[in-house]
């Protein structure tokens, strides 16, 4: 070990830009997940089980399948998403790394956006894994551009609010139970709108029937991204 630093490197610190710091957190989460595969394997396995259980439990004919498809799809995404949200903040808390993030000389909303974007990417990966399986089991082509748009908007809203609430409950001993209990009631408008819009796209309804649900999804996304941006600092404050 060489403790004598012969040529001390001149360290110059420039406070990182907002998005550079956000990207550092996202890259860290992706690198960590690439190694451990903790989040993806838990979320994907859970989603697969939900699809299988619904498929065999409901014993549906073709007509019923078409009507319940979007509901089962969003139940799958919501439940799998909750696992991911819980885990992503718990990893920071359990290893004490949340303090490491909070000590960085950046706006605290950087942490929110970094974690939220990471969660969103994991959710997209799981959704990309679930959709083909879903198509096979339910014999319905879910690769409809409109449905993909709904999934993207719904996932953004889900993660925007979910990341905020996960940060809120991470200090609690009962966080695993607490998150779904407080998440799902608040998430209800988003899930109802997402189910309605998905169902309308799959049934080939006119856009005039779909716009109200899409508007709810867009409004939900904007409201909760804005609220989280403003409030995250207070949420993580001791």
């Amino acid at each position: 070990m060489s403790n004598e630093i012969k040529a001390h490197v001149r360290v110059s610190n420039q406070r990182p830009t907002f998005w550079r710091a956000v990207s550092a957190i996202v890259r860290k989460d992706l690198a960590s997940e690439r190694r451990s595969r903790e989040l993806f394997s838990a979320m994907a396995m859970f989603a697969l089980l939900v699809i299988l259980i619904f498929n065999f439990a409901l014993e549906m004919d073709a007509g019923t399948r078409a009507s319940v498809t979007s509901g089962v799809l969003w139940v799958t995404f919501s439940f799998a998403g909750t696992l991911g949200l819980n885990r992503s903040m718990a990893v920071e808390k359990d290893r004490g790394c949340l303090d490491g993030l909070l000590l960085a000389p950046v706006d605290r909303s950087v942490i929110y956006f970094g974690k939220a974007i990471g969660n969103l990417l994991f959710m997209f990966v799981v959704e990309a894994f679930v959709l083909p399986i879903y198509t096979i089991f339910y014999n319905i082509n879910v690769f409809h551009p409109g449905l993909i748009l709904v999934i993207i908007l719904g996932s953004i809203g889900y993660v925007a609010l979910g990341t905020m609430l996960a940060a809120m409950v991470v200090q609690a001993r009962t966080r695993d139970i607490l998150l779904p209990i407080i998440l799902f009631p608040v998430m209800l408008p988003l899930i109802i709108a997402a189910v309605k819009a998905s169902s309308a796209f799959l049934q080939g309804l006119d856009m005039e029937f779909i716009w109200p649900s899409l508007n709810i999804l867009i409004s939900f996304d904007l409201i909760f991204i804005g609220l989280s941006y403003m409030l995250f600092d207070f949420v993580v404050e001791e």
Partner: protein, 245 residues
């Protein structure tokens, strides 16, 4: 470097810090000692902007807390008994991550320098979860100084280390602090802290009970000074309680 005046911190109705006054000059190494529950960790968490004061004035590196917290965080490094490292990342990736968060510009050369300082260059590409507790703590020092902070806050850095790992940490801390940094360190290990610090403050019941420079330590040593300070504080607290009654 640090100015604290009449600092109060309460958790609910329970006061932990009770009007604490504290000052540290640039380049000083202050050893903060005290019994469990005296408020040492709470105090360091306030200095590092992780916790808000309930009352009082806190100024670190010329900036007020909590109003200018981001500026304060840029000039301090924190080492606690938790390493604040990601087990699924390598040592190099951990330092890269923290270096990016602090906006260190010449990051690659700085990482090499820091890994050399903490003696982990040979294992820079190993996952941190494969490290021993001592190695994790050494890397944690690297994390704390990656942005070359003026002020280091060390909270019980020897917790969980064996004799060899502790001795190695001593060497690294001496090297890190010899570069003119200001340091505040809490520890229950009076032997180790007496070897490193230039000033010793005893924190008891949320206040500084006594303070001495290294050269002014009485003949019975740091332990004697510490015991005397704690006993005096207990007596004065009893007297205060009796007066209130």
């Amino acid at each position: 470097m640090i100015k604290v005046h009449k600092l109060v911190k309460r958790f609910g109705l329970k006061p932990v810090l009770r009007g604490l006054d504290f000052e540290v000059k640039k380049g000083e190494f202050v050893g903060l000692i005290g019994p469990n529950g005296a408020g040492k960790t709470t105090f360091l968490r306030i200095l590092s902007s992780l916790s808000r004061p309930s009352l009082g004035m806190v100024k670190v590196a010329g900036f007020h807390l909590p109003a200018q917290a981001a500026a304060v965080r840029n000039s301090l490094g924190v080492l606690s008994h938790q390493p604040l490292l990601y087990g699924d990342l390598t040592a190099e990736e951990n330092l890269q991550f923290y270096g990016r968060l602090y906006g260190v510009t010449n990051l690659d050369s700085r990482i090499s320098e820091v890994l050399d300082l903490v003696g982990l260059s040979a294992r820079r590409r190993d996952l941190v979860r494969t490290y021993s507790r001592g190695m994790q703590q050494r890397l944690s020092i690297g994390r704390a100084v990656i942005h070359d902070p003026q002020l280091l806050l060390l909270d019980e850095p020897y917790t969980g280390l064996d004799q060899d790992a502790g001795a190695m940490l001593d060497t690294i801390l001496k090297s890190v602090t010899s570069q003119g940094r200001t340091v505040v360190m809490t520890s229950h290990d009076l032997v180790r802290i007496s070897d490193l610090a230039s000033r010793f403050d005893v924190l008891s019941r949320g206040k500084i009970a006594a303070s001495t420079q290294r050269e002014d330590i009485p003949q019975d040593g740091l332990l004697g000074f510490y015991r005397h300070a704690i006993e005096s504080k207990q007596e004065s607290t009893k007297l205060e309680a009796a007066n209130v009654k």
